[in-house]
Subunit: 283 residues, 3 copies
Amino acid sequence: MQRNAYLLCRKVAVPLMRARQMSVGHGLTTVEVDDKSGIAILTMNRPPVNGLNLELLQDIKTSIDTIESNKSRGLILTSSSNSIFSAGLDIMEMYKPDKDRVRKFWIALQDTWLSLYGSGIPTAAAINGHSPAGGCLLATACEFRTMLPNFTIGLNETKLGIVAPKWFMATFLNVLPVRQAEMALTQGKMFTTDEALRVGLIDSVTENKSAAISECQKFIQTFEKVNPFARSLTKQQFRQKDLQQFEDERDNDLEAFLFFINQPSVQKGLGIYIESLKKKAKQ
Amino acid sequence: MQRNAYLLCRKVAVPLMRARQMSVGHGLTTVEVDDKSGIAILTMNRPPVNGLNLELLQDIKTSIDTIESNKSRGLILTSSSNSIFSAGLDIMEMYKPDKDRVRKFWIALQDTWLSLYGSGIPTAAAINGHSPAGGCLLATACEFRTMLPNFTIGLNETKLGIVAPKWFMATFLNVLPVRQAEMALTQGKMFTTDEALRVGLIDSVTENKSAAISECQKFIQTFEKVNPFARSLTKQQFRQKDLQQFEDERDNDLEAFLFFINQPSVQKGLGIYIESLKKKAKQ
Amino acid sequence: MQRNAYLLCRKVAVPLMRARQMSVGHGLTTVEVDDKSGIAILTMNRPPVNGLNLELLQDIKTSIDTIESNKSRGLILTSSSNSIFSAGLDIMEMYKPDKDRVRKFWIALQDTWLSLYGSGIPTAAAINGHSPAGGCLLATACEFRTMLPNFTIGLNETKLGIVAPKWFMATFLNVLPVRQAEMALTQGKMFTTDEALRVGLIDSVTENKSAAISECQKFIQTFEKVNPFARSLTKQQFRQKDLQQFEDERDNDLEAFLFFINQPSVQKGLGIYIESLKKKAKQ
């Protein structure tokens, strides 16, 4: 049917990558499409920790949209780092923020999530490193998760003195049982790879990045005999309640974030946290 | 209390069956009421595969209503076939459909589900054969499921190029964890008996049909010391959100189905599928 | 931050207890605050079975509010009995009820639940005895449950000929998978300690009351490094849907209860039940 669309490039997606990078201009992600499988690998590449700043979010969002419009047969999200999947939101976007930029930053986060959680094509996360907060959000927005041993994943917002937005929670609850989700969210729990597997936060453990990519490909190939259009509608219908609630509340969510981030106590807390990170870095 | 109402017939429900068959006139189901237990067995009997066409659906719906109004103490849904519980919607109802009939067909499916999912009495499925799509819908609409070994069950709509309606999904989600449900629905996964047990899609495995019927009776008898009126209200309150959402959307659901089924691409797909079935049948 | 507020009393919370007992006046609960941990133990003390009558409910509610306003770091709910956590609603409040009192009674139950389920501080139940119906409601309204061996817990309303209100169900569903919840609610199932653990209705089994209290303290201490304000908002956001639905329906819920309880058949049923309890007591 539309499968010829998947086979655009014989070499590993060079034309696509160039096209995407040109249009975005930040160069913080790469996209490779395997011309045999039609599956795209989207790699976050903002050293050292894939902190989600405005530009990285914009690049992820644009990459997702490009992959989808190119009729790729699936999307694998991973990281160029060998110890961090993504450290979550870049705290520097929130500390003493520029008024316009911080607004764009949050909207970019919302848009990225919307593209990923609502994506029509199969999505899988190859979690090749730690994945707290926003990193966990991206991983749980995918349809499948495999993770390398001895890393951690979770929505640890309460430990940072903040509250995970409702749509973070909805994404989490699309994966975890309600009992586990409430406990993890209130505790700000970071699960080890083994704990994450046991509780269902990830679907499998893989020994290294290449095995993780293979595992994600295997998941995406479970849809080989599935009608892509029916699949896409099914997924969107399944996630519709969450997507609808997000749309209904996204303006409020933005204002709530901006209000919160501008509280003196929050700014003070962020300042202390940044100082402690600097000290750690020096040690 | 009202238990004498259960004991209408000394012989195996012959009067009841006749009454029902007379009123319905299609003869595609049988109902037996055990006069000791007061439990009714509703058997789908449209060879070869219990394809859910207009008449079978009407008979199932009428049988459910009759069983309920006769104050039976429980309903066991099963099949007269020894390899198929129900093969799901009869594809011939949807291929080059008569305009009036296909509308009645979908309404009959909606009504049947509504009667079964919202039934006040305990319901159990003795799944004595394969149970894809609409067959799985009927099984999951019951309160309990036991299944014979080496068969398959699931909502495999995406594999057929169609989308399970929202109320199919709601019924599925009343049984399976959200994580398992999303994966199964997008994959159009058919679970083997063993897989179905592991994931919770069925409650037990039984060796043969008679053991399955006994298992269902045992489940229904767990309500022996339960007030039937309180039980019925509890079940309806528990399922109210799904039932309410269905009522709110049933007209849209009908129109969406009719629109979908009349798409040339869908008709073409159905045609190809029917040809492939014919070829298989000849082999 | 606000942690000095937790350390109000050097001796075991005597001032707090006195203050609370004075303001309430029924003396059916005690509150002890450990000055080292800042954790409050709220003990229901209405022998012989902690039947939830108007006064006990008022005392529990007032105790919760006092504990919360004193910035305690957590609340442990337990019983002074060594065989009953709480036997649930006091049936005598519902049998031939005084019109004004029975209204106050139900409102007190609603308020108590609202305070406990919506409490900002960590809550845990040390279930040191049987915990049917209203007892199970209080236990599941907490964030964590540990239970002593060889007791039973569950929402057994259907066995008593009544229907657990929607907010009982919502509380139950915040703990149990939907499949387990529906079966348990319709069956009016009382789970043994072991069964409750297996299904997830409790989180752990502890050998005796003192071990149960320790286990609850351990749970509450998992929040030690969590920002209390962020934690509280996270919990309330997580439970918001249930809390909102309750607020929307609480007036209807009250009227439905009053209507139901005044049915002659219900009064008759309660009368028979009370007689049977009296006979048992004499044996």
